[in-house]
């Protein structure tokens, strides 16, 4: 990974179209990278036609993506899955430089209706299942099946909002902070509104390059050491309650490729979550805590820094959230942001209703 960039994640980029967000972030990722658009062999873009309100929406973005007459491919999934595609292209030698981008403007549509389109139409859609009720059901399962309590879920969300307050790439709302989590509205019990991933507009881009190109551009490139992905059953009722098995499989795949024993071998992790309950389930699936004890990862002095960016609960640019995690993790390893000198990181993305699909990257400098 030789460069990455993101836009500010905002409530609404109301004066820009998706194509403007994309053009801006692609321009930003190239700036100072030592590469220009002619060096890019393949462009992978990730977004949602349903959120965009147009079919095959990437067709309209080709120029802004710098993909004119290039190999271009759309991944209708979180951007981290696009990064798997791009990394594979580079690793197998069919591209020297790959550009991955992901973007989202959920402010233009109804997020509940978007998630409703992901549901099974005969058994689920008519029941009104969406991302909020799914988060509530999964949180209820987590609390019922584990030792965790509502306090733990509040602590995780408070920690997320407090880290987000220090993230210059998240538009700050003066009236929202960690102290507001416990008094925010109960929207899908046991979850309050500030415990559920908050949709944001934004875009992110990452440049991946072959080893010779990376060594030429940087004396401290960030290496992709492992990747993994896995999908769980579509129906919530067919998944293991209170745990994210597919996340565990994806993480195992990535970490065994990287030669890591478990996620405690890394210095920092950036994870995606649909709520503070599923965030606990993710860190548990990564092996950072026993089932029901995910909250322990957020204690002061914890060995692995979880979500220094604040994670997805305060800022969820749907379809771009996982690639933002990769950008955050790699920028910290490269020393572009953050403190300390982390040398190993893990980034996690998810897709689908109730995080059906999971993708994990391990990185090293």
């Amino acid at each position: 990974m030789v460069a990455s960039a993101q836009t500010v994640l905002r409530d609404a980029w109301s004066r820009l179209q998706q194509v403007d967000l994309i053009g801006g972030v692609v321009s930003d990722v190239l700036r100072g990278s030592g590469l220009n658009i002619a060096d890019v062999d393949v462009v992978i873009d990730c977004g949602s036609d349903v959120l965009d309100g147009r079919s095959i929406s990437n067709c309209g973005f080709l120029g802004a993506m710098g993909a004119h007459h290039k190999e271009e491919s759309r991944v209708e999934e979180d951007g981290l899955f696009g990064a798997v595609y791009a990394t594979t292209k580079v690793a197998c030698g069919s591209a020297s430089v790959a550009l991955v981008l992901a973007y989202s403007k959920p402010s233009e549509s109804d997020v509940s209706a978007y998630y409703s389109t992901l549901t099974e139409p005969f058994y689920q859609r008519a029941l009104g299942l969406d991302q909020v009720s799914t988060a509530g059901l999964m949180a209820n399962q987590y609390l019922t099946r584990t030792d965790a309590d509502e306090e733990a879920l509040l602590r995780i969300a408070e920690r997320a909002w407090s880290r987000a307050a220090g993230n210059p790439w998240i538009e700050q709302s003066p009236d929202l902070g960690p102290e507001d989590v416990a008094r925010s509205a109960l929207v899908a019990d046991p979850l309050r509104s500030l415990q559920i991933a908050r949709p944001r507009d934004g875009a992110v881009a990452v440049l991946l390059a072959s080893e010779p190109v990376a060594r030429r551009l940087s004396d401290r490139p960030v290496w992709v050491t492992g990747m993994g992905s896995a999908m769980d059953s579509h129906l919530l009722s067919e998944r293991l309650p209170g745990q994210l098995e597919a996340c565990q499989v994806a993480a195992h795949m990535a970490m065994s490729r990287a030669g890591l024993k478990d996620a405690s071998d890394v210095d920092l992790v950036e994870v995606t979550a649909s709520s503070s309950a599923t965030e606990a389930m993710v860190v548990e699936a990564l092996g950072l805590a026993a089932v029901g004890h995910g909250v322990d990862c957020y204690a002061d002095g914890a060995q692995v820094d979880v979500n220094p960016s604040g994670g997805a609960v305060p800022a969820d640019p749907i379809m771009a959230t996982g690639l933002v995690r990769l950008h955050e993790a790699s920028a910290r390893l490269a020393g572009r942001i953050g403190e300390g000198q982390p040398t190993r990181a893990l980034a996690h993305g998810a897709g689908g209703l109730g995080m059906q699909n999971h993708c994990v990257f391990t990185l090293e400098v």
């Binding site: 609404a12 109301s14 403007d20 233009e108 005969f122 009104g128 299942l129 009720s133 899908a188 309650p241």
Partner: protein, 314 residues
């Protein structure tokens, strides 16, 4: 005449649209039988003997082993709540029906009494069947607290083969700086704007931030003529969802004078049946604008393009 600008420099304005998509969904044996038998107040599940699992609603393939299920079974109308959440749209729950090995997602009505995880509930049927999962209206507290029932073979089952479905999705699209200006100028001044690429010197309509071919910022809006050249055309006879003109009409690609891009619009002003004789590729065409009072700041403020009469016709 419109009241000034369609978009505003003070307030971001949006294009509100609805994507309205009609579907005819094919149910397959499992969902089709489930929906049919709900009309008979029967709850169907499917059983995989390989995995010794009964799931409800039924599935055409076992989610564990991938095999087709051995048979449909009928489940009792009673069960136990395993998870629930309350939102402003009601209460959703996962319910383990008696005799099932997986949960059923459905609605809970708390009118009969409070329900938590572990509470026994029973099905309530809708007054009228609509061939939907909501023919089973909801579950409520089972006050009778009868002993758990068991699943048994369903016997003969009916099938609903197809279900009509409609997706209605609403959007508020941002115009952005380029389209906003384009539409403002169309509505207020009958001007058509393009973007000038500083590298290839092409003028691109509609205006945009980046030149598609060069990936450089365009940086400058320039006026483009409302006269152009017909680049391609086709008479559209087919009706389709989302059509804004009534067939037959002429789909046309027009290169406006001073631009390098093709604008998709229509050519009209004569009998469409004579299009093949009247039109030829490369012929000059010009915009016929709507009355200023009818201009809304869209490309349809140009009513249509018409062939420019040759000097001897004028």
């Amino acid at each position: 005449m419109t009241d000034g600008l369609v978009t505003s420099i003070d307030e971001a304005q949006v294009l509100t649209t609805t994507l309205s998509m009609p579907y005819t969904l094919t149910t397959g044996p499992a969902a089709g039988s489930f929906l049919f038998e709900l009309g008979n107040h029967r709850i169907l599940g499917s059983r995989c003997e390989v995995c010794s699992r009964t799931v409800v609603p039924p599935s055409d393939y076992c989610s564990r082993c991938g095999e087709a299920p051995d048979e449909f079974v009928q489940l009792p109308e009673t069960g136990t709540v395993t998870a629930l959440t309350r939102t402003d749209r009601g209460v959703l729950a996962l319910i383990r029906l008696d005799g099932a090995d997986a949960d059923l997602l459905h609605r809970l009505d708390l009118a009969k009494g409070a329900v938590t995880v572990g509470t026994r509930v029973r099905a309530v049927w809708a007054a009228t069947a609509t061939q939907s999962v909501l023919d089973l209206d909801c579950f409520v507290l089972d006050e009778d607290d009868q002993p758990p029932g068991t699943a048994h073979p369903a016997g003969e089952v009916g099938l609903i083969a197809q279900v009509p479905h409609q997706l209605e999705l609403e959007y508020q699209h941002s115009y952005g700086p380029h389209y906003g200006r384009l539409f403002d100028e169309l509505a207020s001044s009958r001007r058509i704007l393009g973007s000038l690429c500083p590298t290839c010197r092409n003028v691109l309509v509609p205006p945009r931030e980046f030149c598609d071919a060069c990936f450089v910022r365009t940086g400058q809006h320039v006026d483009v003529s409302d006269h152009g050249v017909l680049q391609a055309f086709s008479v559209i006879h087919l009706e389709f969802v989302g059509q804004t003109r009534t067939p037959p009409y002429i789909y046309a690609e027009i290169v406006l004078d001073g631009s390098a891009t093709r604008l998709i619009h229509t050519v009209a002003g004569f009998d469409v049946a004579t299009a093949a004789e009247r039109l030829s590729i490369g012929m000059p065409v010009r915009a016929v604008w709507k009355d200023p009072a009818d201009c809304r700041g869209t490309l349809n403020d140009i009513d249509y393009f018409e062939p420019v009469p040759s000097p001897d016709q004028q």
